[in-house]
């Protein structure tokens, strides 16, 4: 069965979606990702959707769900690389993905995560 690979980089998990998402693929990703977060004790999830040209309301909601689930499992989520057309579509659909953090590209996403994890550690110390 087709799966979306999940890469581990230190305490981050990196998901690069490079095929058009259909509903079953999205559900599989949701399952895999939650399992990996627990197994790897990941602190953050980076989802790169720069190759996605079409995002419908289901995929939009799935992104929001993943972020919510990750938060429950004590990991932060950043969605990076959204295309302008996709952003406009999501806004028109009324999905502004509140609660999901975003960044322009993977580099900025990692910087964002590093900063916020740093802050978290400082606050926890």
């Amino acid at each position: 069965m087709e799966r979306i690979p999940i890469l581990k980089m230190g305490r981050y998990l990196l998901v690069t979606i490079q095929v058009d998402m259909h509903d079953r693929l999205a559900m599989t990703l949701q399952d895999d990702l939650t399992e990996r977060i627990v197994k790897e004790r990941a602190k953050a999830v980076l989802i790169d959707i720069s190759a996605l040209e079409i995002v419908d309301s289901f995929i939009g909601r799935m992104l929001a769900n993943i972020a919510a689930m990750a938060r429950v499992l004590d990991a932060q989520t950043v969605v990076v690389g959204m295309r302008p057309a996709v952003a406009i579509t999501l806004v028109e659909l009324g999905l502004s993905l509140k609660g999901v953090r975003t960044a322009l590209n993977v580099e900025k996403g990692i910087a964002l995560l590093r900063n916020s994890l740093q802050d978290g550690r400082d606050a926890g110390a």
């Binding site: 959204m82 302008p84 996709v86 502004s96 975003t102 322009l104």
Partner: protein, 311 residues
């Protein structure tokens, strides 16, 4: 068909004299605007039109909508387009055709002077034909003006939605004019494209030039902000005038967690702070002055290129 042949005959036999009378008519008429059109050009236009009309009448009678009149209609449309661009009014444009009536009617009267019945019939046919042609000029004129309006609208749309780079990573979007959905779409697309192109993480939306903000406009602004956020860029809303602040509150519009500032300068200051930058006076009062101070400043400038001077 007999009567229309009469018109054709009159046009064929007396083409030259009709043409001369017609041109005199047009020149005498203030509507021709001699300052925009020389007599030579007018003569050329009139002769061309009359020739086409004669051929059309001979082939297709007085049916202005028929296939035989295709060249006549096209010539009239071109003429109207040209005059619309030159600034003629619709009446002045239509007078080109209507002023042909008198010379033609005069010839018809000469010919049927003894038979009122035939004269009336011939005049009626001729009037219908020329009125129809006159209306064609008006229609074409209107179309030309509409084209101008559409083009201007497009240009305004292009002109009024620039995205400028204030600083590395900071974009500004000075909005001017009313925000409707079509413009919001353009604004949003431009902004998002520029965010991708420049890798900016902050955008300042300045609404100083937006005359009124109602719930629809606010909705559009919120959409733009949400779309930019999805791309990973935060937005600051600036240039909110006192009346607009009042309107926003009275309408109960919730701007959510968008940072709002009164002026673009304030928003820029926030943006710089977010980027970890600041503005510093070059000739600080504490500096020892003279060369030393300048050297000091020079070094500062090398280390921190974002120093801005206020003299």
């Amino acid at each position: 068909m007999a009567r229309s042949t009469v018109l054709g005959e009159v046009l064929t036999q007396q083409e030259e004299s009709i043409l001369l009378d017609w041109i005199d008519q047009q020149v005498a008429n203030a509507a021709t605007r001699s300052e925009l059109l020389s007599r030579g050009e007018l003569q050329e236009q009139s002769r061309h039109f009359l020739t086409l009309l004669r051929q059309a009448v001979r082939e297709g009678g007085v049916e202005a909508g028929g296939a035989a009149f295709e060249p006549v209609r096209r010539a009239l449309e071109e003429l109207s387009l040209e005059r619309a661009r030159q600034g003629y009014s619709p009446i002045e444009t239509a007078m080109f055709v209507f002023s042909l009536k008198q010379p033609v009617f005069f010839r018809l009267r000469e010919r049927f002077g003894d038979s009122p019945q035939a004269l009336a019939d011939a005049l009626w046919e001729c009037t219908i034909l020329l009125d129809r042609l006159g209306l064609i000029t008006t229609e074409a004129y209107q179309r030309a003006r509409e084209q101008v309006i559409v083009r201007q609208q497009e240009e305004m749309l292009e002109l009024s939605t620039p995205v400028v780079t204030l600083w590395e990573g900071v974009l500004a979007l000075p909005l001017i004019g009313t925000l409707d959905s079509a413009r919001t779409q353009v604004v949003m697309e431009n902004l998002l494209e520029r965010i991708v192109a420049t890798g900016a993480s902050l955008a300042v939306i300045d609404i100083t030039g937006v005359p009124t903000v109602d719930t629809v406009t606010a909705q559009h602004l919120l959409k733009t902000v949400a779309a930019a956020r999805l791309m990973g860029a935060d937005c600051i809303l600036s240039g909110i005038r006192p009346q607009i602040a009042q309107t926003i509150v009275h309408l109960g519009v919730d701007l959510g967690d968008i940072i709002t500032k009164a002026t673009l300068a304030d928003a820029f200051a926030v943006a710089l702070k977010r980027m970890g930058l600041g503005v510093q006076r070059l000739n600080a009062p504490g500096a020892k002055g003279g060369r030393q101070g300048q050297e000091q400043n020079g070094r500062d400038q090398e280390e921190r290129p974002w120093n801005a001077s206020r003299s």
